[in-house]
Symmetry: C2
Subunit: 334 residues, 2 copies
């Protein structure tokens, strides 16, 4: 039975209806009937071929939730009828040092759900069951879909860089990623500050768990906050005043970047040294991290704030995201 | 009895003979008769007031070794006749979080041996005994003096950033700091590469413990080495091609900066993220780190390669350092 999808046929073109016959179900594969698929900023980059690695027709979508319809003969941990999610990564070599140590997201041979494969803007997907995650009952599909990529991206830094509940954490940018970062930080037990150039977002930021709001354009507030943060999570893709952010950190403080800035990150050397500070990166999440995140979200009520569009209105949703009007995460319903 | 020293009386001026009456010996103080004092690059910066914090007359020198001549009434761990060393830091508040956790080098109220105080280009010094370290018998004073600052600066990163003996470590720059970094890395059990723009230094770098030599101007060698280092220690003060260094790191790899670059460090965001890499700083060393380093140096035979000058030829030594002709660390003998 063909899979119905929305696909880009060339860079920067609107999506069009598209159907394809899926490849035979491999021994480790699972077929998922998709009910929801979040839209991530990286879908825009894939459609536009901003990273020079897209192939067409391209079916975007890597924040997938759906119901298992069929499993390959080697699949033991999933059954027909289970609700599962799939994120950015669809497979890995299963053999390298990083795969062996639970860091599949660093595997050099990792496959992406939307690269060389048709993604989640579709009625179904066949994919490697080892990268499909059961969704806890407490999470609604609509609110959980964005956790598969945006959630993992903002959760992993807390684990990778050993954030403790006693720390002061700042989340820079209150958007699709940032509103999740605030929720993780609050659920993690931290003292949480939302950093933004938009004072109008203060109320909502506090609704997501921020104790404090710091307008990064207010020089007086920035000066007062100097040297007070243990951990800063930057979710903004636009260039930042990196020196000013570094000044906000206490000694041993870390600035973690999860938005990919288009321009280089420029760091003054002196404060990096004298305060033994770190500028670090984090990319999506490994399998065990995603499973852990889903359980943590279920226990703490972390959820993406979403707006939905039907699958065939995917272009409208993409336009809304591109116009920076998503509040805060868009999800296609199938 | 007055202390005889060499002092700068204004920025960028040659040192001149200078004598002063030391302050009364405080309860925690120790008086040290200096036998050796290393010359650090930062002494040049202090003399020239490059950091805008020098006061004159300025007696440089913060890689001091000498013999205890007198101790204050509260000093229990040092006795007259012991051989001790003093580094960059001369005191701290003893009360803040960082002092309480053995990170005195991060204390906001830390005092420096040569700032607001007369340093080690002198016949003697009175200073806080809590920042004077007994020197193990196995170390010669001449070869150990540079460990008090240059040694601590290059040793601490191994501990702070949890370098393991199974790792591949690169030391960038084969100079006063780098030749110590190579020795620490080799003694630490790592696979060690010296990175330099000067192929002529290969033989000496291997003498300091490098297994391999990488000419960073050789594009072919750099390409071949991409993704192979777990830890890079940058000891160079000149601007670097930071993107190229980041490319040399494996996933989770760390680039640690201990030279203070005058220009900002410019890091491309994509490789930082995708490889979960870190750019980190490290500054001198805490008390327990310096004591540990001295014991480790004694056990592994780590020593600065030195050239000596008598104290009254300090200007000649400074000129040699400024001309980048020190091989590898200069020490004044008193």
């Amino acid at each position: 039975m063909p899979i119905h999808a929305m696909a880009a046929h060339a860079a920067k073109k609107p999506l069009e209806k598209f159907q394809y016959e899926p490849a035979p179900l491999g021994p480790h594969d699972v077929e998922i009937e998709i009910t929801h698929c979040g839209i991530c900023h990286s879908d825009l980059h894939l459609i536009d071929n901003d990273w020079g690695m897209s192939t067409y027709p391209l079916v975007p979508g890597h924040e997938i939730i759906g119901i298992v319809k069929a499993v390959g003969p080697e699949v033991a941990h999933l059954r027909k009828g289970m609700r599962v999610g799939v994120g950015w990564q669809r497979n890995s070599c299963q053999q390298c040092e990083f795969c062996q140590t639970g860091q599949e997201n660093l595997c050099a041979k990792m496959g992406a759900t939307c690269l060389g494969n048709y993604g989640g803007f579709a009625t179904a997907i066949r994919t490697d069951s080892r990268f499909a995650f059961p969704i806890p009952d407490a999470l609604s599909s609509e609110n959980a879909a964005p956790l598969l990529c945006g959630g993992a991206t903002t959760y992993s830094p807390f684990r990778l860089y050993e954030v403790r509940p006693s720390m002061k954490v700042g989340v820079i940018g209150i958007g699709g990623l940032g509103h999740l970062g605030l929720q993780w930080a609050r659920a993690w037990g931290c003292e949480v500050t939302a950093l933004s150039t938009t004072p109008e977002k203060e109320r909502e930021a506090k609704g997501f768990g921020a104790h404090h709001f710091l307008n990064t354009r207010d020089a007086g507030m920035m000066k007062k906050a100097a040297g007070t943060f243990d951990f800063l999570l930057n979710t903004v893709f636009a260039p930042q005043d990196w020196g000013a952010l570094l000044e906000l950190l206490r000694p041993n403080g870390k600035l973690c970047v999860v938005g990919v800035p288009s321009e280089p990150i420029t760091i003054p050397g002196f404060p990096l040294l004298l305060g033994q500070k770190s500028v670090v990166g984090s990319v999506i999440g490994s399998r065990h991290m995603i499973a852990e995140m889903l359980a943590f979200a279920a226990r703490h009520g972390v959820k993406a704030q979403t707006e939905t569009f039907p699958l065939d209105k995917a272009n409208d949703a993409l336009a809304r995201l591109k116009a920076n009007r998503a509040r805060y995460r868009l999800v296609l319903t199938v």
